[in-house]
C-alpha cells in the first residue's frame, strides 16, 4: 500500500486532457443546458446555427466550460467558442485544463 501511495505521489501530472475525454465532457456540459435539445446535438454542432441558441445561452455554456475544466477564458477567446468542435479544440490544446 505504501508503494502505491508513493507511486501516486511521484507520478508526473499529465498536461491537459485527451481529445476524446474533452469531447465527452464538452458534450455533457452542452447537454446540461436547459434550452438544448439532446437529440439534435452532434459532434459538429454550432450553438447558434444548429442548436438555435441565443448569444446569452452561449455565454452560459462557456461559463460552464470555465467551471468544469477550471480554466480562465479571456473575453476575446470566449467570443470564438461558438461550436462544439471549436470548444473541444480549445480545451484539448489548453495545457492547464483539468
Amino acid at each position: 500500500w505504501g508503494l502505491l501511495w508513493r507511486r501516486w505521489m511521484s507520478a508526473p501530472a499529465q498536461d491537459g486532457i485527451s481529445e476524446k475525454e474533452a469531447l465527452d465532457r464538452v458534450m455533457m456540459i452542452v447537454k446540461a443546458h436547459p434550452k438544448v435539445n439532446p437529440a439534435k446535438l452532434t459532434q459538429s454542432s454550432h450553438f447558434m446555427n444548429d442548436l438555435g441558441l441565443d448569444s446569452l445561452d452561449v455565454v452560459e455554456i462557456v461559463m460552464g466550460f470555465e467551471e468544469e475544466f477550471v480554466l480562465y477564458i479571456p473575453d476575446e477567446v470566449a467570443d470564438k467558442l461558438v461550436s462544439v468542435p471549436a470548444a473541444v479544440d480549445f480545451v484539448a490544446k489548453h495545457p492547464k485544463a483539468k
Binding site: S55, L56, V58, E60, Y72
Partner: protein, 123 residues
C-alpha cells in the same frame, strides 16, 4: 433615419449592432461571474442567474440602436455598483493568486542534482 438607408449607413449600423451585441455578452458574462461570487452556493446561484437572465430577456426585442445603447450604459453602471470587491479567479490566471509564482528558470541556469555527493570531508 434617412442616413441609415444608404449602403455605407447600413454597414456602419451593422457594425454598431455587432459591437453592442459583444458588449451585452461581456456584461452578461461578468455579471454571471460576480453573481456566483456574491452567492457562493449553487442552488441560490441558479435562482439568481435565472433572475438575471430574465432581466436581460425583457429587452431582447429592442431594435433601436440608441435605445440599446442607453440600456447597455445603464446596465454597466449598475454592474459597477454591484460588482464583488474580491472576485474569484482561477489561480494561474492573470488575476489569480499563483500568477507568475514559480516562473520557469532561464535556459542558462542548469540545475545539477548531485544528491549531496559534494566533498564534505575536505572542508
Amino acid at each position: 433615419m434617412s442616413a441609415s438607408l444608404t449602403i455605407a449607413g447600413l454597414a456602419s449600423l451593422a457594425a454598431r449592432r455587432d459591437a453592442q451585441r459583444r458588449r451585452v455578452c461581456r456584461l452578461y458574462r461578468k455579471a454571471l461571474h460576480h453573481t456566483l461570487d456574491w452567492v457562493i452556493f449553487r442552488e441560490p446561484f441558479y435562482k439568481e442567474a435565472s433572475k438575471l437572465r430574465a432581466r436581460f430577456d425583457v429587452n431582447k426585442d429592442v431594435v433601436d440602436v440608441d435605445a440599446i445603447e442607453r440600456l447597455i450604459v445603464k446596465g454597466e453602471a449598475e454592474f459597477k455598483k454591484f460588482q464583488h470587491p474580491e472576485p474569484y479567479a482561477v489561480p494561474w490566471s492573470p488575476e489569480g493568486v499563483t500568477y507568475a509564482r514559480n516562473p520557469p528558470l532561464p535556459a542558462e541556469v542548469v540545475v545539477v542534482k548531485d544528491w549531496g555527493r559534494e566533498d564534505w570531508s575536505t572542508h
